[in-house]
């Protein structure tokens, strides 16, 4: 649990209609064990949902804040 195998589940939740679900899913995605910038880029490329892409940007920017 918490490894890259969960990527699909978490990515699906990033398209949820509730903002908080997308937000927490985004945060979870960044924290998956073995997640790298490249893999994140790959996930991003696959995201069909504009809200999910926005959310990914949002959580990445938030994570970058010290």
């Amino acid at each position: 649990l918490g490894g890259l195998a969960e990527t699909e589940t978490v990515t699906r939740l990033m398209c949820d209609k509730v903002w908080w679900v997308r937000y927490r899913a985004g945060q979870a995605l960044l924290k998956l064990k073995g997640m790298t910038a490249d893999r994140l880029e790959a996930v991003r490329a696959q995201l069909g949902d504009a809200y999910a892409r926005d959310m990914l940007e949002h959580v990445r920017a938030e994570a970058a804040i010290p």
């Binding site: 903002w19 997308r22 809200y51 920017a61």
Partner: protein, 467 residues
């Protein structure tokens, strides 16, 4: 001539009936208020102990337009509020001055790629900023929408928490305001809105946007408004909230359930009184959907606002309120006697039409008819005097009841001379002030009925507390 006499007599009886009904309702509300207040004060400290760790997170939405001079102080005061979990969202509504630059400089704001969702349509958002110093502070920079409603809606879109506060940038909140206002939401999850008592800041000592010492204004116009606000909030709204008939939550202080407000479409940008309009639409929405709901009110003095100190600003404000009331009641007339609307549609709405909207008309006409009757010799001097005295006595009783309520509960004004001054003013306001208000409101009613388009009316704010 005889027919005229009969007609005049009938009209007189009509006025008398109206007058008795009006005061009976007000007094009834005041008595409900006394009863409610006792229960509320009794449970207050216990509730705060029990709930202190269950506080719901709150989003504070504060629209700002051209407030460069005061915005930093206001935001600092908000950030100091005593509450566990809240966020501050300042909406810069396309200010033409340095409001945004000031915020960026004072709070180290940087652009942030926020996943902003548009649930209520507003003018375009130009960007979202986040503070490096305070993680719970954000600024939504948007194009000017020409109304507080549009800016508030953008803030509601950005709000993350289940309930939000919406207020003015220049109002001062009590440090414990959020602790008090969350109580109805915790006690009854079907609460969709909650208002609180607004007081007058003029004459109080304020430092850094925080109230330091309560005082009374020297300006007589502001002083009358202290009594007026006491009467309106402690007497009126507390009474209405007891029967879930509150149609107004003050624009200076209101807390709302976010999802319900989004469902109702947010604030209406073309409403003159967008605060009342929203609450009336919330009633309507919930009744139509057949859902149980509550519009609550807490009597605690939670918000302090600047009262106009000159006649012309006060006149503009009151005339705008009256036009807003007329517009709101007219647009939402469907709520009146709507099936299932209970006290809101069957009691509060007709009351507002009859006794708030039309009262200046009846009051002024009543005085004129009485005077004419007196001049024609149809009324004895003693009768005329008795009528005036009765009107005066009832007015005084209402004002002093509110003073009593305030003394029994919050005891905000610490000194005996404060109470004496307020008592004096509640006597004096019956000679001239109330009549003047009636005439202004009548004028506004006439303007609205004749369809005149009048702008928002620039408010001249003194904001002496900002130094």
């Amino acid at each position: 001539m005889n027919a005229l006499r009969h007609a005049l007599a009938a009209v007189q009886w009509g006025f008398l009936g109206y007058f008795v009904a009006l005061n009976a309702v007000y007094l009834g509300l005041a008595f409900i208020a006394i009863w409610r207040l006792r229960g509320y004060m009794g449970g207050r400290s216990a509730a705060e102990r029990v709930y202190s760790h269950l506080q719901m997170p709150i989003s504070l939405v504060v629209p700002a337009y051209n407030e460069a001079a005061t915005i930093a102080t206001s935001v600092r005061a908000l950030l100091q509020l005593r509450y566990q979990h809240f966020e501050v969202i300042i909406v810069n509504d396309g200010s033409k001055d340095d409001t945004l630059a000031t915020l960026i400089r004072e709070f180290e704001m940087t652009p942030f790629p926020e996943a902003y969702r548009v649930q209520i349509k507003t003018r375009p958002v130009r960007g979202v900023y986040r503070s490096a110093k305070y993680p719970n502070l954000r600024v939504i920079d948007k194009e000017n929408g020409g109304s507080k409603a549009d800016a508030s809606n953008a803030g509601i879109n950005a709000a993350r928490y289940p309930i939000f506060y919406c207020g003015d940038a220049d109002s001062i909140l009590d440090p414990h305001a959020l602790e008090h206002v969350v109580r109805p939401f915790l006690e009854d999850p079907s609460t969709v809105a909650c208002g609180g008592t607004v007081r007058i800041i003029n004459g109080c000592k304020v430092r850094g946007g925080v109230l330091e010492e309560v005082g009374l204004p020297r300006n007589p116009l502001a002083l009358v408004q202290v009594v007026e606000y006491l009467r309106a909030f402690l007497g009126g709204r507390l009474g209405w909230s007891a029967i879930n008939g509150m149609l107004i939550v003050s624009g200076a202080f209101g807390v709302f359930h976010r999802d319900t407000v989004v469902e109702a479409g947010g604030y209406k940008h073309d409403a003159i009184g967008e605060d009342m309009d929203l609450v009336v639409r919330l009633h309507h929405l919930m009744v139509k959907r057949g859902r149980r709901y509550r519009v609550a009110f807490i009597p605690d003095p939670v918000c302090w606002t600047d009262a106009p100190e000159d006649g012309s600003t006060l006149k503009k404000q009151r005339m705008r309120w009256q036009r807003g009331l007329a517009q709101c009641l007219w647009i939402n007339r469907e709520l009146c006697f709507l099936r299932g609307s209970k006290a809101a549609g069957w009691l509060a709405f007709p009351f507002f039409v009859l006794f708030e909207l039309l009262s200046p008309l009846v009051e002024v006409a009543g005085l004129v008819v009485m005077a004419v009757a007196f001049a024609m010799g149809m009324m004895t001097g003693a009768g005329f005097l008795a009528f005036l005295l009765a009107a005066f006595a009832l007015g005084l009783m209402l004002s002093t009841t509110s003073l009593l309520l305030e003394e029994l509960s919050f005891h905000t004004y610490p000194k005996a001379r404060h109470l004496l001054a307020l008592f004096g003013v509640s006597i004096l306001e019956n000679f001239g002030y109330r009549q003047l208000m009636s005439v202004w409101r009548l004028h506004a009613l006439y303007q609205w009925m004749s369809g005149a388009k009048i702008g928002w009316g620039e408010m001249k704010r003194k904001a002496t507390w900002q130094q």
